[in-house]
């Protein structure tokens, strides 16, 4: 899922000082799991806005803020309340925020959250980055994503910086390639892996902005 964190109220305050009336939009997908786009997050923001002498004309939670047409349909029921507002605050990831920007070109749309990474939740609301969406998945070989978990994105084994199994950059984290080596060994392919060389990585697949059509099966649409 996409991991988000709410911005400090101090930062939000900077962006909204010229507006008085707000409509709030949350998201029932990743941001809800993160606690940044659910009803509780909306209520908390609403209370804070009221404490700043601002008015909330209404709020809604989109089923999936990243789906432009679905969100447009859901939002149409709140047309009047949105019209009464001067500004829309979006409690989702950056993708959801841009859905709203696209739907309300004439109104200022402001993100409440920072979008952090694509990750897993290990314990309740403790998140770890596991994928960088590089467009060229190597998990079949290495078992864990070395492009994400190795800060140097090594493709061919560890650097010389690990100490006692730990990464030179994050000393409380195991070196991704020490972990990957065990996986390669367990699968009986360690020798085979090191006999070859991987890469150079095709970063063309990760060049932004990316587009993809599953219907047409093409990358550029």
């Amino acid at each position: 899922m996409i991991i988000t964190r709410q911005k400090d109220f101090g930062e939000i305050k900077k962006y909204i000082k010229q507006y008085r009336n707000f409509f709030l939009i949350g998201c029932a997908e990743c941001a809800t799991v993160c606690g940044t786009g659910d009803e509780k997050a909306i209520q908390s923001l609403k209370n804070w806005l009221q404490s700043q002498n601002k008015t909330v004309t209404g709020w809604m939670i989109a089923k999936a803020g990243c789906q432009i047409f679905g969100t447009k349909r859901e939002i149409s029921h709140y047309k009047d309340l949105i019209e009464k507002s001067q500004c829309i605050l979006v409690l989702s990831c950056g993708v959801g925020t841009q859905t709203i920007t696209e739907l309300f070109e004439e109104k200022p749309v402001i993100p409440v959250n920072d979008t952090l990474f694509i990750g897993n939740m290990r314990r309740f609301r403790e998140f770890e980055e596991r994928c960088r969406a590089c467009g060229d998945c190597l998990l079949a070989i290495t078992g864990i994503c070395v492009v994400t978990l190795c800060p140097k994105q090594m493709l061919n084994g560890p650097c010389g910086g690990y100490k006692g199994e730990c990464c030179e950059v994050n000393s409380d984290t195991k070196c991704a390639w020490v972990v990957a080596y065990r996986i390669l060994e367990k699968n009986g392919v360690a020798d085979k892996f090191y006999k070859k060389i991987s890469g150079p990585k095709n970063w063309l697949k990760a060049n932004s902005p990316r587009r993809y059509s599953a219907r047409k099966g093409i990358d550029r649409i």
């Binding site: 994105q153 493709l155 061919n156 084994g157 560890p158 020798d191 090191y194 006999k195 890469g199 970063w203």
Partner: protein
């Protein structure tokens, strides 16, 4: 053929030293060090923004050294340049007469003085070795022909301190397969750790230059152990040093380095010794003079 290459390929023992280019426009001290060291060593390695701390580029330092008659080894990392910049810089270095290369991945910017910098790491050191191998064959990384082959003599690094060692040894072997002709090791405090790399390397025709540091102070040892990636200081050494005062410490550091070098030479564990940059110039000169007159 460069003198450094000739000596290594002829199994003559080499002494090299590492210098860090200046952090600023003033090259006086570096030039002074080059002058002081040029008759004592076979080559000097110029680091590439070591520990991810900004310095003058290795290529310019190598050129200055060449002009002053001390053979340079250009260190090239993958941290700050993508594959285009690396190839471009290497062709530039070749045009300036630089022939020896030491290729590595490079310490992460997070450890340096520009922590907010974007790490590049477009390719890793194994790929960098293959890239240089390609340039020597007259092709680029994409196997497209280039106008004129390079003639680099290039090596890589291995860390005998790594725990677990197996992934490191596999990587070492992979780098040999990619064409690395010699290996510099991370600084060694326990000769036994070097032995396990040498044992593994026996089946390959590869030259090993062992990294040695002259410890000057307790603080320096603490810094090496806690801040420098891949350096492991054994507990017995830290304990031993803890009991020494500053004066004894200097003598101990010098004796410790000499005895490690003797052990390495006696057991024929390497084809040369490389003295790392953090060792003071005076100590390095003293040590090199000691071995030059002793051998």
């Amino acid at each position: 053929m460069t003198g450094f290459k000739k000596k290594l390929l002829n199994d003559q023992f080499v002494f090299t030293v590492e210098l860090t280019p200046p952090r600023g426009a003033n090259t006086d001290r570096m030039i002074q060090k080059i002058e002081e060291l040029k008759d004592l060593v076979d080559a000097v390695n110029f680091t590439d923004n070591p520990s991810a701390k900004m310095r003058m580029c290795s290529m310019a330092a190598c050129k200055i050294s060449l002009e002053r008659g001390l053979e340079p080894v250009l260190q090239m990392t993958c941290r700050d340049r993508n594959r285009i910049a690396i190839q471009s810089d290497l062709l530039g270095a070749h045009a300036l007469g630089i022939r020896n290369l030491l290729l590595m991945t490079g310490d992460h910017p997070f450890l340096g003085d520009h922590k907010e910098a974007k790490p590049v790491y477009d390719i890793d050191s194994s790929l960098l070795i293959r890239l240089v191998n390609n340039l020597n064959k007259g092709i680029d990384i994409n196997r497209n022909r280039i106008d004129g082959k390079t003639s680099f003599f290039y090596g890589a690094v291995v860390n005998p301190n790594a725990e677990p060692i197996q992934p490191q040894l596999k990587r070492f072997e992979q780098k040999i397969r990619m064409g690395a002709k010699f290996f510099y090791t991370q600084m060694i405090f326990e000769v036994e750790k070097l032995e396990r790399v040498v044992e593994y390397a026996e089946k390959f025709k590869v030259k090993i230059v062992a990294g040695i540091v002259i410890i000057k102070t307790k603080r320096m040892l603490k810094y090496l152990s806690s801040k420098v990636p891949g350096v492991t200081v054994p507990h017995w050494l830290t304990d031993k040093i803890e009991k020494l005062d500053d004066k004894d410490m200097q003598k101990f550091g010098f004796d410790f380095a000499t005895s490690a070098i003797y052990k390495i030479m006696d057991r024929k564990l390497s084809h040369g010794i490389h003295i790392m940059a953090i060792s003071g110039t005076e100590e390095v000169k003293k040590l090199l003079n000691f071995f030059k007159t002793g051998i």
